[in-house]
Amino acid sequence: MQKRTKKGKWDHIKAFGFFIPVLLVFTIFVFTPFFKTLYLSFFEWNLISPKKTFVGLSNYIALFQDPVTVKVLSNTFVYILIMLVVNFIVPYIMSYMMAIMLKKGQNFYKGAIFLPYVISLVVGSILYLWILNPVSGPIGLIARTFGIRLPIWSKTDGLVLLILSLITSWKLFGYNFIVLFAAVNNIPKEIIEVAKLDGISNWHIFKDIVTPMSSATGIYVLIITIVQGLQQGFTPIKVVTQGGPNYGSASLTYQSYHEAFTLYHIGKSSALSVLTMVLFMVLLALEFYFVERNVYYEN
């Protein structure tokens, strides 16, 4: 008996010991920074000066009074909306088409569609910058033969948001597609066969049978689309437009970076990061709320 508890205790120590490397890295580079950023958001500081001035909530107040913040929030909202269509709704429908309707070629398409996921978004941004160049790129030249002069997209409000979201989507599309496909493909085929025999249309099968039965994955992908979209979407913005024209393409993540490392407004940048964090936490809470309660579990 004595020996047993001793062994139990030893196991306990070992179990925790195995976590030490991970916890060490996370404590130094994730948990502590998290609180430090929260702390910094109450100060005015320029990153270099030895003196930080406590300013209470004024960084937050300044943010909400700044017209740039309004623009950044609305840009972010547009980015999210476009990516939800391109990177969530479209791959969801296509995963249904592949799992239920398509008879051949699944493996080839899956492999090819996933490929951009392993490529750098810096590369992606550069490639699309050239392909979509309104003067000398192929798309611009085709348009010109039809007598259309394309605007310089990277300097056109609105259009710049669309193209930058498409570049980010180009990389992330394959991942979302594969994960959604796995969920849709897991639904027992008999259920769908029966529905088909009853003459139910594909659209209704998708809407009334497939989405409810794959909703745990569906919600996960929905949320990851927003979170990853804003995280990865930083790169094309930084590489192509630097937030321009006149903050016309700055997202929450980009603006936070810009305030910190271009303007050296550490307090304001931290406040923006905290706001982004709050947005992500709301999404996380939604995920738990839905996934834990109302949804059908695939497994």
């Binding site: 195995f18 490397p21 580079f29 490929l115 490529i119 750098s120 490639l127 970076y257 550490i266 936490m281």
Partner: protein, 273 residues
Amino acid sequence: MKIKEHQLGLHFLFILTVLVLLFPLVYALSNSFKTLNDAFNNVFSLIPREFTLQNYIHVFTRLDFMRIVGNTFFISTTVTIFKIITSLLAAYSLVFFNFKGKNTLYFILLSTMFIPFTVTMIPNYLTISSWGLGDSLIGVLIPQLADVLGIFLLRQSMRGIPRSLIEYAQLEGASTYNIITGIVIPLIRPNIISTGILFFVNSWNEYVWPVLILKTKSKFTLSLALQMFISSEGGTDFTIAMAVSVMTMIIPITLYLIFQRYILDTFTTSGVK
């Protein structure tokens, strides 16, 4: 007959998707072998009028390119090895040990996937600078030594190992080290490989953090080197930029093509929850 048309339409849609996604890669490859003149006057032909290696030669003479590739390789390899070891240990502990607060710990770790990088970038920049590691490769890789995604993916695959197998080995007096190297690793090898490739590729492509840390050109990684060739107006570096792009993509794409089955399986079978 109707079903056949149906299939044709579907194939058309999927082929179109593949073309849209992969055209940029073909376009880059083709232009990297064109002369600048050719690239501008011969936009629609994917086959160069006069095949040239000049762009690639340029990359190697104008930059210390081997060094940049070496830097990227060094960072990605180190990061991958450490992430795999740290994730493997943590996942093993989660699956085969019981301890108080285990689920809470796992939950907290998973939640960190929802922390935007902007929340950690300023404090981490300060930490790395205060350790005297600013503008160094070590400074780039240190914050990346552990990864929740790895813990998640390896935990999923370890859960498939029968508990009785581990218990039997323990009764036989096998040490934890022997159990991990002799039983666990061989059983989940495909998952370790695909997780490792994912880590390697992500680190290879990493841009935000190196751009903050690295200032000296000789310490640049590929992503940063690429950035030197961008001018949105279309300048004279176009075909060289394509050559650098091709060389940046080639390693991730090769790894992906070799291990494609493992990688796709890891995402499809482990599911999400």
